[in-house]
């Protein structure tokens, strides 16, 4: 009973934040109608029905997927590198995606009209971001074959990140202001741009990444002793490392492609969960990170959409504004970091 209580609480919190998330927005919809809509799949008021099915529900589900996916990839990276500062993007995935999107938006501006028409198609952005992170991933995997030392891989990831952001900087320098603004808006991240079919694709690739991560959990527990001990316990270090990288790429790569480079959640959620649950056992951390990531993202989205107002704040700003003080408070209060 004592063991299942935290999971029950987290699940309850998830349901509450999910319903709250859906009931709040620029158009005020009474809670009764929201619940009716969610349970009976139809509400008495026609336009409520439309808003919920086509806007709020896909956005709330995206928030859940993004939060849990980034949380898990952060957890994977923190354990793989045995480094509390690692997050989903340490291998340069988001920089790769940024470069792809920058080339599309800013590059297209430079070479004018040919690609111009595609810029505002969301699929073009998704494809550019996926290609960008995939190429960076390919590079990292090639290096992972060459470099035997996991720590060098961390540095290589950081180097690739600064390399790509330098290229983005050069592109930005030569771009007209309007294109620059489009790019900056993309880099703020957004949960609300996804159609149902896109939500489906995101869900499928997160499911695949999650399954691979699940298969790695036992070996990640062994990695808590360091790579040498893990190897002596029968873990194939290189194979395990590649699986973890693959899972992270599927999770963080597809999220960045669909929702932009969403900061902070991936780094913070594993820390928040460790502080609360005081464990390093990945079989406990995994479900808790999924639930907490989803909850945190839903709450951030509630704050970002400024209930009652007509515009939304960039989600990237909110995750940090909301999350950073939470992590700081947890660490100061407990005095000791759990890692």
């Amino acid at each position: 009973m004592k063991k299942t209580l935290p999971y029950l609480l987290l699940s309850l919190l998830l349901v509450v934040s999910f319903v709250t998330n859906i009931s709040l927005g620029s158009v005020s919809i009474p809670l009764k109608d929201v619940l009716l809509q969610l349970v009976a799949i139809s509400s008495e008021v026609e336009h409520f029905n439309y808003i919920i099915t086509n806007y709020r529900l896909p956005k709330a589900i995206t928030a859940i997927l993004v939060g849990s996916g980034l949380g898990i990839s952060g957890l994977l990276m923190q354990t793989l590198f045995r480094n509390p500062l690692a997050g989903p993007y340490v291998l340069g995935l988001s920089s790769g995606a940024s470069l792809g999107v920058a080339l599309l938006i800013l590059g297209a501006g430079m070479f004018t009209s040919v690609l111009g028409g595609m810029i505002y198609s969301s699929w073009a952005t998704v494809i550019a971001a996926s290609l960008g992170s995939f190429l960076v991933l390919l590079l990292v995997m090639l290096m992972a074959n060459k470099v035997k030392d996991t720590m060098s891989l961390l540095i290589i990831g950081l180097m690739l990140a600064s390399l790509t952001s330098a290229v983005v900087g050069i592109l930005a320098y030569f771009s007209p202001a309007s294109n620059l603004q489009t790019y900056v808006f993309w880099s703020f991240g957004s949960l609300g741009n996804l159609q149902w079919n896109e939500v489906g694709i995101l869900m499928a690739s997160l499911f695949a990444g999650g399954l691979i991560a699940l298969a790695c959990l036992k070996n990640m527990n062994a990695l808590l002793l360091g790579e040498k001990y893990a190897a002596s316990l029968g873990v194939n270090i290189e194979k395990n490392r590649k699986l973890i990288i693959l899972a992270t790429s599927l999770l963080a790569g597809s999220i960045t492609a669909f929702a932009g480079p969403i900061a902070f959640i991936g780094l913070a959620v594993p820390h928040i969960v460790r502080q609360f649950f005081k464990t390093n056992n990945h079989f406990v951390l995994f479900p808790c990170v999924i639930l907490s990531g989803a909850i945190l993202m839903l709450i951030c989205d509630i704050v970002a959409q400024l209930p009652g107002y007509d515009f939304t704040l960039p989600i990237n700003a909110i995750t940090s504004v909301f999350g950073a003080p939470l992590v700081i408070w947890l660490l100061v209060r407990k005095k000791k970091m759990y890692f």
């Binding site: 045995r82 298969a215 959990l217 036992k218 527990n221 062994a222 808590l224 002793l225 360091g226 040498k228 001990y229 190897a231 002596s232 316990l233 029968g234 873990v235 194939n236 005081k278 390093n280 056992n281 079989f283 759990y338 890692f339």
Partner: protein, 263 residues
């Protein structure tokens, strides 16, 4: 020696060292050593003599330059990580171990090779963990977090983890560094009694030459590229210990079977 003698570990024509692209650095060659079950064996030598290289080569952390290592007459290069984890367990120093692990969690990780994909501990696993905790005598530490332990206690926890892995061979790299004289003797005494009661073969690299000479069944002396195995008495008779250190500072006293400093 005939093939009939069953060794837990033996080597043939083994050369150890490090291989780069165009350069091979041989640390020691022509190594023929044999370990049997129930023995406590110390690998001794001065700093930089190649103790660690030997230990790493025996446990397949690094590949030998030439020759083979056999465990229970099987070449270790024919074993995968999983099979090897059922034969050798390690106690290492300076590993980035998560210190927030509880003592019993860390020891339970020793059962990793035997558990299913979600790491579920069976009754047998729990029994082995309990037994390991009792053998090392750390029942009172079971629920502590590893960062609350002293160096000596933590060393015992690592030894318990190796015991829980339930392998016929345990290899320890410098298990007594950072420990005071009492705890050094205590750890070695513990290893000796475990070797006797469990019939496991326990091999450790150490600087504690005096203690090793008094407590071990067999000594593997690593000195200037040569590796000599024998019982402490044999090594004393062969007078190989005399040249271990420069004699103007440290000399070997045959009557007490120990090294002393000239004053």
């Amino acid at each position: 020696m005939t093939k009939a003698t069953k060794y837990l570990l033996n080597t043939q024509e083994l050369s150890i060292g490090y291989q780069g692209k165009n350069l091979v650095e041989v640390v020691a060659k022509n190594i023929h050593i044999q370990f049997q079950e129930g023995e406590l064996i110390a690998v001794i030598g001065v700093n930089g003599s190649g103790k660690s290289t030997l230990i790493k080569s025996l446990s397949k952390i690094i590949q030998p330059i030439k020759g083979e290592v056999f465990i229970e007459n099987i070449n270790i290069n024919e074993l995968n990580e999983k099979q090897l984890s059922n034969l050798i367990s390690l106690v290492l120093t300076k590993q980035p171990i998560s210190k927030q692990l509880k003592v019993h969690e860390l020891i339970a990780l020793g059962r990793h090779p035997y558990t299913n994909w979600i790491g579920m501990l069976t009754q047998e696993d729990k029994r082995m963990i309990q037994k390991a905790i009792q053998q090392v005598g750390i029942s009172e530490l079971k629920n502590k977090s590893c960062d609350e332990l002293s160096d000596g206690q933590f060393q015992k926890v690592l030894i318990a983890r190796a015991l829980a892995q339930d392998t016929p061979l345990i290899i320890l790299d410098e298990p007594t560094t950072h420990l005071d004289m009492y705890h050094k003797a205590q750890v070695l005494h513990l290893l000796k009694s475990i070797a006797a009661s469990t019939k496991k073969c326990i091999v450790f690299a150490s600087h504690e030459i005096n203690l090793a000479l008094k407590m071990c069944h067999q000594i593997v002396l690593v000195h200037e590229g040569k590796i000599i195995q024998g019982s402490p008495e044999e090594l004393v008779q062969q007078k190989v210990l005399h040249q271990l250190f420069p004699e103007n500072l440290i000399y070997f006293d045959e009557t007490s079977k120990s090294f002393s400093v000239r004053v």
